[in-house]
Symmetry: D2
Subunit: 344 residues, 4 copies
C-alpha cells in the first residue's frame, strides 16, 4: 500500500443519503468506490485526497477522517474510539464491566453439563462455554459429542438464561450452529483458517477469536479483519497463551498483548487463563492479572470432577475454586473503577 | 491410552483372507476390531494380548508386531522401516534421491508461469510449485488467481512434463483441485485445520503437509495421522521454519526436526528454505544444510523478477541463482552417497 | 540425586545447642554433615532416614522436616512457608505490601539524578534505582558513569532518605559498591554468571536477581540457590520479560512466572515493567497486572526527559505518568486486600 | 550513531609511518582520533569526510574505506573480506577446511581424559575440548575438577600433540588458564558477561565465543566486538542451539545463524551439535548439516561411557560413533569442495 488512502468514517448521525452523495461524487470523478460497514458506521476509502477537497458543500462532513496506513484498518481503534460493545444474548462485553464466561471445556453428558451450568450461574458467570466439536491434536483423542452436544448446550441455556458460546471447526457447520448458540468461538489452531473466518463473519453471529499460539498481536488483528470485512463487528479477541521456551506452564500468557490490543483496536479483549496456564492453581492469579491489564472478559474452564474430564481436565477448576475466584474479582474490579458484569 | 494395544502389521505377503481370519478370530472372542490401511499394509490393533497367543496355527503370522504406545502410530517408523515412497506423477520422493520442486510462490500470469516452469525444468527440478489460492495474513493482500490460476498450472505441466503441486485452503476445493493437480499442499497456517486434513486425506492425492510455525515435531506427526487414518499414505512432511525470538530471518529453520522425523516416521521429509529464511541469500546454504540433515526433497521459490512478485517476492531466487544451487547440490548429494532425482 | 535427603529445618525457637546435638548424633554415626543457614533458620540434610528415627529424646524436634527432591531446596517455599522479608534499608519487600522502586535507568548527571530522586520520592516510591555500571550489548554504547555515578547515588539517598539499589557487573566491584548502596542488582545478562552470584551472595547485601531473558522459571530459582548457599537470604527475584517470537514489545512479560514463584519459593518477587515492554504506554497496564498476579514490588524507569536519556530512554515514563500510576496502584492494592509500602 | 563515520582500513602493505601521517593530519585539524587494531590491520574512524578529501598526496591511500553504519564494525565482513584465520596451536580454523574439535564435556579423571584424547586424535580430531570449570545451573551439581583438571588437559596435549580448549568462567582465572591452554571458550551463559569478555580479549588467546541460548545473531556479533576492541582478532563464533518452544531436543540448532554470520562477519564459525541436540543420535545429522551450511568447525562431546558421565552424558557420542561420523564428514567436505583439517 504505497499511497495510504484516506478513510472517511460516517457514524449514524450522517444520513445514508449523505453517504450516497459522497459515493456519487467519487464515482462521477471516475474513482473506484467500495464501502465498508462497521456496525452502523460506514467507511469509505478514498485514494485521491483532492477529491475530498473538491467535495461540494451539500455533502455531509465525515464523522472522522483517518489515514489507512496498514493492513489493519477496520479494526483500528481510531475508527471507533469509544470501543465496540459485543452482545452475546443478554450479556455485553466491552462496556467497561468485567464479564466471566465459564463452563466445561467439553460437553460430556447431560448431568455434567446441567450441573456445571447451574453452579457457574449461581456464582456470577454471565455466559456458558462448552465445546461440542473439539479440535484435537491427535485423531485418536476424544473429538466431542458433536451435534448431540449442541442439544445439551441449548437445554443449559434454557435452564440458566445464560448465553452459550461454542467452538466451530468447519465452515459447513456454521449455519447449523448459528441457529442454536449465541456466539461462536474460533480456536487458536484455526485463527488463520481464512475459509472458516469468512464463513463465520458472514453468519453475523458474535465471535470469540482466539489468538493462535504461534501468532503475533498484529496477525490476530489481521485475522479479525477477515471477520470485520464481512460486515460483522461483533468480535472479541481472546488471548490464551503463546508458545515460548518456558516449560513450567502449558503456554505463556501474554498480557502485553492485552494492553496493546486495548490501545490499538476498538474490539473488546478476553483472556483464557485455563488453557494458557494448563494448571488449576494458575487460574486465580492469571485471572486477576488479566483484568488488571485491561481485559474485558475471562473465559474459564470449570469441571465438577477435573480428574475425570474427557478433555483438558488437568486445567479445570472446581466449583468451589470458581466461587472463590469470583469473590476475589469483585473487589479487584472496584479497585480498578470497574464492576462485575451481570446478566441483564 | 492406559493399556497400549499391540499392533499386528500385515504386509502384501499376507493374504487378505489370512487377515480376515484374524478379524474373525478377534470378533468371535467379542473383541472390537477396526482395521487400518497404510498403502498395501494392513494394521490391526489388538488390546487383549492373550487373544494373540490363543490364535490358531491356521492364522498367518503378522509381518511385524509393535506396541501402540503413543497418539502417533500409523506414522511410526517401525510400522514401515524401509520408509514410504510418495509419487507425485512421475516423481518419487523418499527413494533416497534428492528431489527439488520449484516454481513461483504464486501463479501470477501465463507468461510468468510458463517461463518459470521452463527454466526450473531446464535446471533439473522434478516438480512444479505454484500457489493459486494464497492464504494471506491480511484480507487486503493479493489472494491468488484462484481457479484461473489452476488452468495455468495445468498448462505448465503439459508443456514441461513435470508434476504440479498447489496449496489447498478450503475443504470444498479439494475435489476440483484433485482433478487437475498431482499433489496438494496443506500450508503451515492450516496444519491443524482438521476438517481440511480429513478432506485431503480422503482425496487419496499425494500431500505435502507443512509444519505450523508454532507447532512441534510431534504435533506435525499427529496432524499427518489425520491423513493416514483416511487410508492415504502418500504424505510428505515439510519443515519451513518456526517462530523464535531471532529477528534476522523470517523464521528459524529447524533441521533438528528433519533429523528427528527421519528417525521417528516412515514418511519422507521436505524442506522449504525460501519461506523459512525469507531472503534469497539464505536459500543456498539452507538448501545444502537441509539435504545434509537428511531431507528427501526441497521446495524452492523461483521468480523471474522477484522485485515485482505479487507475493513473498523478497525471498524468491532468480533463475541463475537456481541454476547455481542445482550445480552445488549434485556433488553434495554424491558426498552423502545419494543422487539427484530425475523425472522418470 | 537418587535418594532424596531429608531436610531437618530448625527455626529460632530451637537452641543452637540443640542443633549441635543433632550434628554430634549424626557424626557419631559416621554420617557426613553440612549445615546450611537461611536467615536465622538452620537446615541439616540427612541422607539416612534411620538416623532420624534413632535420635534420642534429648534432641530437639526439628521445626519442619521436608524431602530434598530437586536441585532447588534452600529456596523452596515449604522451607519457610510464611515467606521471606527482604530489607533494603528502611524498606521491606515481601511483607504483603506493594513496594515501588523507581529512578533513572542510568545515572547521567547530578541534576538528573537529584531531580528524579526527588520526584519519585514525592509520589511514593520506597527505593531508588539508578545504574552506574551499565552492561551494554555493544562496547560502543554508553557504559555508565561508573564510580562517579556511585557518589551521586549516595547523595540522592542522603537527600531523600530512600534506599538505593544499583546493578553490579563485576565480582571485583562488589565490595566497593556494598560500602555505599543498600542493595545490589544482578542483571538479566548475568543471571547465570556464577562467579558474580557467589561474590554477591558473600557480601550479605540484599539482592535483586533479574531473570535472564532466555532462562526458565526453575533456572532462576537455581541461580538464587547460589546466593542462598552463601548464607544470604535477602534475595528478591525479578521478572523483566522473556524473549519470544512476538515483536510488538521489547520482551514478553511472563506473569505466569510470578504466580509460579509465589507458589514455589519463599523469596519475594519483583516485576520490571519498563525493560519488559520497552514502551512508556505499557508501563501502566503491566504494573497493575503484575501486582494483581501477586508481585511484591515493582521497579520502574522514570526520566525527566526520556527523549534525551543516554540509555533505554524509549521505555522510561515521565514524572507525571509516574504520579498517575501511583494513584492507580493504591486502590488496586486495596482491592486485593493489600496496601502500598511506605518508608518506615 | 547519527552520522556514520568513515572507517579507513590499512592492511600490512601500508607502513605504520603512513598511518601516523593520517593521524597527524586529523589531529592537526582538531579531529579526535582513535585507532583500532584487527590483527595486522589498522582501522581509523573519521567522522568528518571532508578531512579525507583534504588529505595531501603524501598520505598513503587506505586499503579499504567503509561506512561505520552499525554498532558492529570491527567484526564486519567488509573490513576483511577474505575472512579471519584463527590459530589454536597447530590447528587453523577459517582456512576453508573442516576442523573437528572433540573430547569429554568435563575432565573427570586421568584415565578418562587420556583415553578420550587418544581416541579422538586417532580418528582425526584437530583439537581437544575438556571442561575443568563447569558453569552449572545449580550449585548442587558437579562443578568440575578445577585446577586439578587443568594439569590433565596439559598432559593430554603433550601426549597427543593436539591443542587444548577449555571454558573460562571468571575473569580472575584468565591469566592462569592462558598459561596452559591453547584457546579459551566463553560459554553460552557468559556471552554477555562483559567483564569476562574484556579480560579474555586482553589475554590475546584464541577464543571460542558461544552464542547465548537466548541471544540473537546480532548480539553475538556485538559480544565479539568486546573481544575485537581489545585488539584480539582470534575469535571463533559458536552456534550451540537456541531456546524455542520445541521440546523434542534440548535446544534448536539455528543454522540460519551460521549462514548469516558467514555473510556478515570475517570471523570463522563453529557449531556444537552435542549441546544443541542433547541426544547422541542427533550429533551425526546436525554435524553434517552444520558443515553444509558453511560452518568452519565442529566441537563434539565424546565419552567412553556416556551413561557414567558426571556432566551432560546424555548427549555424548561413543568413540565408535565418532569414528563413523568422521568417516561421513570427509566425503561431504569433498562434495562441498572442501577438505578435512589436519594437524600441521
Amino acid at each position: 500500500m504505497t499511497n495510504p488512502d484516506t478513510l472517511l468514517v460516517f457514524d449514524e448521525a450522517v444520513t445514508r443519503a449523505g453517504v450516497e452523495g459522497w459515493i456519487q461524487h467519487l464515482e462521477s470523478a471516475g474513482a473506484p468506490t467500495e464501502i465498508y460497514r462497521l456496525g452502523s458506521t460506514l467507511v469509505l476509502p478514498v485514494s485521491d485526497v483532492d477529491l475530498i477537497h473538491r467535495a461540494g458543500p451539500e455533502l455531509p462532513a465525515p464523522t472522522y477522517q483517518v489515514l489507512r496506513n496498514s493492513q489493519i484498518w477496520l479494526g483500528r481503534r481510531d475508527l471507533r474510539p469509544a470501543g465496540t460493545e459485543v452482545s452475546f444474548g443478554p450479556t455485553t462485553i466491552g462496556d467497561g464491566s468485567v464479564a466471566v464466561i465459564a463452563g466445561p471445556c467439553a460437553v460430556e453428558s447431560p448431568e455434567q453439563t446441567m450441573a456445571t451450568a447451574a453452579v457457574v450461574t449461581e456464582h456470577g458467570a454471565v455466559g456458558l462455554r462448552g465445546g461440542v466439536f473439539k479440535p484435537r491434536t491427535s485423531p485418536h483423542s476424544f473429538q466431542g459429542l458433536r451435534w448431540d452436544g449442541l442439544d445439551l448446550l441449548a437445554e443449559a441455556r434454557e435452564r440458566t438464561g445464560l448465553p452459550v458460546v461454542t467452538e466451530v471447526v468447519d465452515p459447513e457447520h456454521v449455519k447449523r450452529l448459528a441457529g442454536v448458540v449465541d456466539g461462536l468461538q474460533i480456536g487458536a489452531r484455526n485463527m488463520q483458517n481464512f475459509a472458516l473466518l469468512t464463513a463465520v463473519g458472514q453468519s453475523g453471529l458474535p465471535v470469540v477469536l482466539k489468538r493462535g499460539f504461534g501468532c503475533t498481536v498484529e496477525e490476530t488483528l489481521a485475522a479479525a479483519e477477515y471477520l470485520l470485512l464481512e460486515g460483522n463487528d461483533q468480535v472479541v479477541l481472546c488471548e490464551r497463551g503463546i508458545r515460548t521456551f518456558e516449560p513450567s506452564a502449558r503456554f505463556t500468557l501474554d498480557l502485553t498483548a492485552v494492553a496493546l490490543w486495548k490501545q490499538r483496536t476498538h474490539l473488546p479483549v478476553m483472556v483464557d487463563p485455563s488453557h494458557s496456564g494448563g494448571r488449576p492453581e494458575l487460574v486465580g492469579p492469571l485471572s486477576l492479572a488479566a483484568v488488571a491489564a485491561g481485559a474485558d472478559a475471562l473465559i474459564i474452564d470449570v469441571h465438577l470432577q477435573p480428574e475425570q474430564a474427557l478433555c483438558d481436565g488437568a486445567q479445570a477448576i472446581r466449583p468451589q475454586q470458581f466461587a472463590d475466584l469470583m469473590a476475589r474479582l469483585a473487589p479487584l474490579a472496584a479497585g480498578l473503577g470497574r464492576r462485575m458484569s451481570r446478566v441483564a
